[in-house]
């Protein structure tokens, strides 16, 4: 049995192993060293939640604390990538995307295309996302859909420690800009992770559970919620198939369509706001390409078209729950 580590440790290990393998891999961002290297400090926090802890001393000079200026250091990381480095820049909360959006969507995402394929931009931008942390409306959003919309970006949303390590190593080795999004509520999740280095390819969905009644497509933290729901639904005689796309761009459309062709029913679970979301994107994909297989309308279980609330009670209501997924799956199973 492989050893178990947390999602957070898996990300740290991926960074450590890639920094050891390739001297061009650097880590930069606000507080990623977190005081390490200051006079009298042996090691320090390593990012706001300690994800990069320990890397500063193992890889001297290659973990760079930056000023609180996302527009500056994200641009610098993209420029360094064009010049042969493999920077992993940490945006801290994905909600801060707004101040460096030009660097990401109008520069990094376009270089390969606009320079006739001659430019490569092997940058990874890591950020944490998601609700459930009592961090209020400006630190709780799920913005993977915005990046997914932009051609030229690859977007990764790992749901467990094994995928987090393998997908981050793949992200660092990829020659295009990759947005790597970590759900903050998953950092403490434990799972079996090999000690060796390994990669998980982009655009390959995981079939988390097999079933023949209802297809549930879920990503990030919602995979756990879908698993809770499917275990309950099984007791009621409804057998769910859970598909975790793992990357929203590229998206493994074949695995989703093949599953819906088998089950005839689709529930999409997406923590994001409902409009122009991954849920609506996948619902559209299935409606257009597997309409003839559908036995019931597609159901989307999402957050609301409202900021994520700060109140504990309201925030819990905002996040898609197992109960809501169960209700959606039952409604499509019982539809006549």
């Amino acid at each position: 049995m492989a050893r178990k580590i947390t999602y957070q440790q898996a990300i740290n290990e991926a960074l450590d192993q890639e920094m050891s393998r390739d001297q061009n891999v650097i880590v930069m961002g606000e507080d990623v060293a977190g005081g390490a290297g200051s006079p009298g400090e042996q090691d320090a926090w390593g990012g706001v939640l300690g994800v990069t802890r320990g890397l500063y001393h193992k890889h001297p000079g290659r973990v760079i604390d930056t000023p609180i200026s996302e527009s500056g250091y994200v641009g610098a990381a993209i420029g360094a990538a064009c010049c042969g480095m493999r920077p992993v820049a940490e945006l801290m909360f994905v909600d801060f995307l707004g101040v460096c959006f030009d660097q990401i969507f109008n520069q990094a995402a376009k270089f390969r295309y606009m320079f006739g394929g001659k430019a490569e931009t092997p940058v990874v931008i890591r950020a944490m996302y998601g609700a459930g942390f009592r961090a209020a409306a400006q630190h709780s959003q799920c913005l993977y859909n915005i990046f997914t919309h932009i051609p030229g970006l690859k977007v990764v949303v790992p749901s467990n420690p094994y995928d987090a390590k393998g997908l981050l190593i793949q992200s660092i080795r990829d020659n295009d800009p990759v947005i790597f999004l970590e759900h903050k509520a998953l950092y403490t999740m434990e799972g079996e992770v090999p000690e060796e280095s390994y990669t998980v390819p982009f655009g390959e969905a995981a079939v988390v559970r097999e079933g023949h009644d209802v297809t549930i497509v879920a990503m990030g933290r919602m995979v756990q919620k879908a698993q809770e729901a499917a275990a309950e639904l099984q007791k009621a005689g409804i057998h769910c198939e859970i598909i975790d796309p793992r990357t929203t761009s590229p998206l493994d459309t074949d695995t989703i369509l093949e599953s819906v062709e088998k089950t005839g029913r689709l529930v999409v679970v997406d923590e994001s706001h409902p409009r122009c979301s991954m849920a609506s994107d996948i619902a559209g994909l299935v409606a257009e390409n597997a309409f003839g297989s559908l036995k019931a309308p597609i159901r989307q279980v999402t957050g609301y078209h409202a900021p994520v609330p700060f109140s504990d009670a309201l925030e819990e209501l905002y996040i898609p729950s197992a109960a809501k997924i169960i209700a959606a799956a039952k409604s499509v199973k019982e539809y006549k």
Binding site: M1, G166, Y198, T199
Partner: protein, 370 residues
């Protein structure tokens, strides 16, 4: 009440917590002999049949098709026809009232694999059982110690039995060095030194059979007997399409049809089996290890080490076990050595005969090693 016997959800492998009923092979009222297969169940990794632990009549089926039960949960009841229904109902009620599924992580239950340093290689192994003449189980190309999921515990009933991951496999070091049968055999001998086993019964599957034969040639004093299952090293033919495909397959769709070649019943290839093998193949160093081994052992579409003519000269008891429908290494290799050594061929079984006919294979080996 002692005449009432339970059929419970088995535990196949360390990670198994629950299993699903695939279907009953015997119906209520059927007479049952000890050792007969009663019900088919599947874990997330593998499907198989549960055997009757005692003779009698199948009196109750307590789980239906597609029901999921925790390990140890009550599937059915066997009892003599003379036991009253009331006694059986009381027994079942009693069992269900006192049954508690095992809690917590699988690590808390039973033996767990260890790692040991051997000649600069880190090797993973799992030891079960105590005392007796030791046995070592050696998996095949691309396999690992989990290939013995259905065999390890049964074989360890009256002896210590070690299953190891060869270099390049499972959770052992991925560096295979020269990647020859000789190097692998020397690693097995060094492993035996490291765990303090002087001489052992070697049980090898496929490439592991060729490794066992090579141990017997190079380190004869370390080998008490050889049980060779669907073994390499007994003839030239091998399904190189499988070997090459396995080495190059990069995703589920490429790998899944290949794995069907391992079993007579291709429905035994579960999603979990495919995913586990993909995870293994994606580890750094595995591609190189498998490439080196297949290049040395199976170059030019044939097996490059044929040791069948050495069998009689080894001076060791040899048992050869094969699945008649083996699509990786032909059963003709077993038939060719029959007469010189003991041969058992199981009909309607494939290359992974130790999984497909686990109970038969376990009995054959137990009888053979005595």
């Amino acid at each position: 009440m002692s005449d009432i016997h339970t059929i419970t959800m088995p535990k196949w492998g360390l990670s198994m917590q629950e299993g699903k009923v695939n279907g009953w092979l015997k119906q209520v009222g059927d007479a049952i002999e000890k050792g007969q297969e009663i019900v088919e169940v599947e874990s997330e990794k593998i499907a198989g049949a549960v055997e009757a632990g005692a003779a009698g009549v199948l009196r109750r089926q307590l789980a239906g098709e597609e029901d999921v039960l925790p390990v140890g949960g009550l599937l059915g009841v066997i009892a003599d026809a003379s036991v009253s229904d009331a006694d059986i109902d009381a027994f079942v009620a009693d069992f269900q009232a006192s049954f508690k599924p095992a809690e917590g992580d699988a690590e808390d239950q039973g033996p767990t694999p260890q790692k040991i340093e051997v000649n600069g290689h880190k090797l993973r192994y799992l030891k079960r059982g105590e005392g007796g003449e030791p046995m070592v189980l050696i998996h095949g190309f691309g396999g690992d110690l989990n290939n013995w999921l259905f065999n390890h515990e049964a074989l360890a009933a009256d002896r210590e039995v070690y299953a190891l991951d060869l270099p390049g496999h499972g959770e052992s070091t991925k560096d295979v060095g020269e990647g020859t049968l000789e190097a692998l055999a020397d690693t097995v001998a060094a492993f035996m030194d490291a765990v303090g086993v002087d001489a052992a019964h070697l049980v090898g599957h496929s490439m592991g059979g060729a490794v066992s034969l090579t141990v017997a040639t190079r380190h004869p004093q370390r080998v008490r007997s050889l049980s060779l299952i669907g073994s390499a090293g007994l003839g030239e033919e091998i399904n190189t399409g499988y070997i090459e495909g396995f080495v190059s397959a990069a995703n589920r769709n490429a790998l899944k049809p290949l794995l069907g070649d391992l079993f007579a019943d291709t429905s035994l290839v579960t999603r979990q089996l495919v995913d586990d093998l993909l995870k293994y193949k994606r580890l750094e160093g595995v591609g190189a290890a498998l490439g080196t081994l297949s290049g040395n052992l199976f170059a030019n579409g044939r097996q490059n080490s044929v040791m069948a003519d050495r069998l009689s000269g080894l001076g060791k008891p040899v048992l050869v076990i094969w699945g008649e429908e083996d699509r990786i290494i032909p059963v003709a290799h077993a038939q060719a050595v029959s007469g010189r050594v003991q041969v058992e061929v199981f009909g309607n079984r494939g290359h992974m005969v130790q999984m497909e006919a686990a109970n038969d294979v376990n009995r054959a080996i137990a009888r053979f090693v005595g």
